[in-house]
């Protein structure tokens, strides 16, 4: 492919009418009809991909609503136009190239890239109807299990068993984002809804950095003079320094240490918290993540960002030795002894995601919590079960611990997770 100049590249932009100009009338009509059919199929494919949660997001990080309550509109118009243009340029005559071309147009993340081939095969080579929920890991499109709810990686320690619980999930408006954002994570069974929630969690973590940066922008001017810029600004004034330029303040991103409880009692929430934690350390690179059940394990820091699968694999691998009985205070003690001196300082916000259900005495947990609170800037405790206690009702596990916590929050749905984000950045 020799590089062409702008003119010849523009001239090669696919134009169906132009391409058919040399054909007979019959061939022309046949060509236009075929192009129309292909265009409709591509549009349907785009909708199918969107139904499966694959595709672009709008600038606010959410998928745009289409007004009919299902939440998805499919890909942006530009992806659809690109797909039609590549089909018109002759790509649709070769299955391999057509697949590769559509993949390039419709994917925008490694996750999408991994799923695309399976979805392409399902749409173009089987009779899956639009709007069906499909499982990535299934190979047989005719398998009826494809359409059954699936809560994901059952092998992950602490996440199995949820599907057997019979909750009467009352989600008003299944595709409604507002309803979904208020739904407790434990009531979400539909894989598509879970996918939407996972995307929301990702966006939430990602936007937290944007919120932080916006605040920095408001006060970016420093007090030190930037000599180089100031000198360059003397040029219009014949060498007189009439305009001063100041050095920008050095940006210091907040540092988080996240301690995640992945015990059986937290299984419904732990996967989403892990996802949130992974995204958070991606955007705040100095942060660290630890998980605990009967022992404490370090899952990594922002400088060694792992893929989601690696993140879960590491947790699975490290947790093989775990036995029953959650040991929160012992885990926090190990954290205080081994890790806290290196990772916690007066700039660090420590976040503990746990319900506090410990096999040891609550006073021991309170003591370890007190030590963390003394070292850290803020200690934030997230208890997803918090909302279940009535006013005045006692929590035997957490009541002794609460005095040593700076902020005690629940994060059992997207709405409360959003509030948690604000607390983290405050």
């Amino acid at each position: 492919m020799p590089v062409e100049d702008t003119g010849s590249r523009a001239a090669r932009q696919p134009d169906l009418q132009q391409s058919l100009s040399g054909c007979s009338e019959e061939e022309r009509i046949e060509g236009l009809a075929l192009a129309h059919i292909i265009s409709c199929r591509i549009q349907a494919f785009s909708s199918f991909l969107a139904d499966q949660g694959l595709g672009n997001r709008n600038s606010s990080g959410n998928r745009p609503g289409n007004g009919n309550g299902t939440g998805y509109t499919g890909h942006g118009p530009s992806a659809l136009i690109d797909a039609n243009r590549l089909a018109a340029s002759g790509y649709c005559r070769n299955q391999l190239l057509f697949r590769a071309g559509l993949k390039t147009c419709f994917c925008d993340s490694p996750h999408d890239w991994e799923r695309f081939d399976h979805l392409f095969d399902l749409f173009w080579f089987s009779n899956i109807s639009e709007g069906s929920d499909v499982d990535d890991n299934a190979n047989d499109p005719n398998d009826s299990n494809l359409l059954q709810p699936n809560l994901g990686n059952d092998n992950l320690v602490g996440f199995a068993g949820t599907s057997s619980q019979e909750f009467e999930a009352a989600l008003a408006g299944a595709g409604d984002f507002k309803a979904l954002s208020l739904a407790d994570f434990r009531f979400v069974f539909n894989p598509l809804q879970m996918l939407i929630i996972e995307r929301m969690v990702d966006d939430l973590a990602r936007r937290s950095r944007q919120s932080f940066l916006r605040r920095r922008v408001r006060a970016h001017n420093g007090t030190q003079i930037n000599m180089r810029r100031t000198l360059s600004r003397t040029i219009p004034y014949n060498g007189h320094a009439l305009e001063l330029h100041y050095l920008k303040k050095q940006r210091k991103l907040p540092k988080f240490v996240l301690l995640l409880d992945v015990s059986q009692s937290m299984e419904v929430y732990a996967k989403l918290f892990l996802r949130f934690a992974r995204k958070l350390i991606q955007v705040f690179q100095q942060s660290e993540v630890f998980a605990f059940n009967t022992q404490l394990i370090a899952l990594g820091s922002g400088h060694s960002v792992l893929s989601e699968k690696d993140f879960e694999d590491r947790l699975n691998a490290e947790s093989r030795q775990w036995l029953g009985g959650t040991k929160i205070s012992a885990s926090l003690q190990r954290f205080n002894d081994e890790y806290a001196p290196h990772v916690v300082n007066h700039r660090t916000t420590v976040v503990v995601f746990s319900d506090g259900c410990d096999t040891a005495e609550p006073e021991e947990l309170a003591e370890q919590t007190r030590i963390i609170q003394q070292k850290a800037k803020t200690l934030l405790w997230v208890n997803p079960l918090l909302g279940r206690f009535k006013a005045g009702e006692k929590d035997p596990y957490m009541d002794p611990v609460v005095p040593y916590i700076d902020k005690y929050r629940s994060a059992h749905n997207i709405h409360t997770l959003e509030q948690l984000k604000r607390d983290l950045l405050s």
């Binding site: 100049d5 530009s78 243009r85 390039t104 147009c105 040029i235």
Partner: protein, 305 residues
């Protein structure tokens, strides 16, 4: 209909192979679509899988200039688009001092193209022949720079307040790379074609080794690639990319290794070319571990499980 794309891709494939880059059909299609749809291509993948190499290879294959913009935190318009050569401007002012028409001409003279330093983005659109513009590691730049880049990619023109607007006189092939250090904005992703580069499979990696290191013994290349493929399945701190494979194979060849199993000592001593963290080297540098990986066996605890 225009079906020249197959020929174009074959041509591109041959040209890239001549530069030592082995591309699969998917990548060739993405590169071809860059021209067909006139859009930038965003390449994402782990470090060392050959993202930057693609841009270099295309530029070399097309015998055109590669203009590279290495991104980093704090990258701004002065380093990416244009800047004024203010030292020379000061000199020009001093030279003209005392000249009767100095004041009238000064501003016009010092704010001319003569004193304009074209940075990669401006240079790419002002180069007469279509160039390849590589915006490397865009994820390391700030969000503010991303927004600036979006504007330039969309408008294909750059405005310098003192001089006016520079229209593009050529349409560069724009390739952006990202290691996933930071999430890129959706606006940027939406404006780009996307291609994810994964670690190559055994056959492709073998072809890459032969293409990049001509004259290498086939049996050694095969053993080395097999070893690398096996070690990528292990739990490593830093998974070796293609670049590390090439370095390691070159090191093995330099150490006159012909068979890995017969030269465990040499393999051990050359391992730093492949594994880039102390912990990985310590764990997998043991003779037993090397032997196990060479034979493609799983760790004993996994076998037991």
């Amino acid at each position: 209909m225009n079906v020249n794309h197959t020929e174009r891709m074959q041509h591109l494939d041959t040209a890239m192979q001549a530069t030592g880059y082995i591309a699969d059909t998917g990548l060739l299609a993405s590169l071809d679509l860059m021209s067909v749809l006139d859009k930038p291509l965003l390449l994402e993948g782990e470090a060392g899988v050959g993202k930057t190499g693609i841009a270099q290879s295309i530029a070399e294959a097309n015998k055109t200039e590669l203009i590279r913009l290495q991104c980093y935190e704090g990258l701004d318009a002065q380093h990416a688009i244009y800047d004024w050569d203010y030292q020379r401007q000061l000199l020009a002012i001093q030279i003209q001092q005392g000249h009767p028409d100095a004041d009238a001409n000064l501003k016009r003279t010092i704010y001319s193209e003569e004193f304009l330093l074209m940075r990669p983005l401006l240079r790419a659109i002002r180069t007469p022949q279509t160039s390849v513009l590589l915006i490397d590691e865009i994820d390391r730049a700030d969000e503010e720079f991303e927004a600036l880049l979006l504007e330039i990619l969309a408008e294909k023109q750059i405005t310098v307040p003192e001089l006016g607007t520079f229209e593009a006189i050529s349409n560069p092939l724009v390739i952006l790379t990202s290691n996933g250090v930071r999430e890129l904005s959706d606006a940027l992703r939406r404006r780009c074609l996307y291609h994810y580069i994964d670690y190559p499979d055994r056959e492709k990696e073998l072809a890459i080794v032969h293409a990049r290191i001509p004259g290498l013994e086939h049996s050694l290349a095969k053993q080395a690639v097999s070893f690398v493929q096996n070690i990528r399945q292990e739990r490593l701190r830093k998974v070796p990319g293609v670049a590390e494979t090439l370095d390691w194979v070159a090191a093995l060849a330099a150490l006159n290794v012909y068979d890995l199993k017969d030269s465990i000592d040499s393999v051990q001593s050359s391992l730093p070319a492949l594994l880039k963290t102390r912990i990985d080297t310590e764990i997998f540098g043991h003779t037993d571990e090397l032997q196990r990986i060479l034979e493609g066996r799983k760790p004993e605890d996994e076998n037991a499980g």
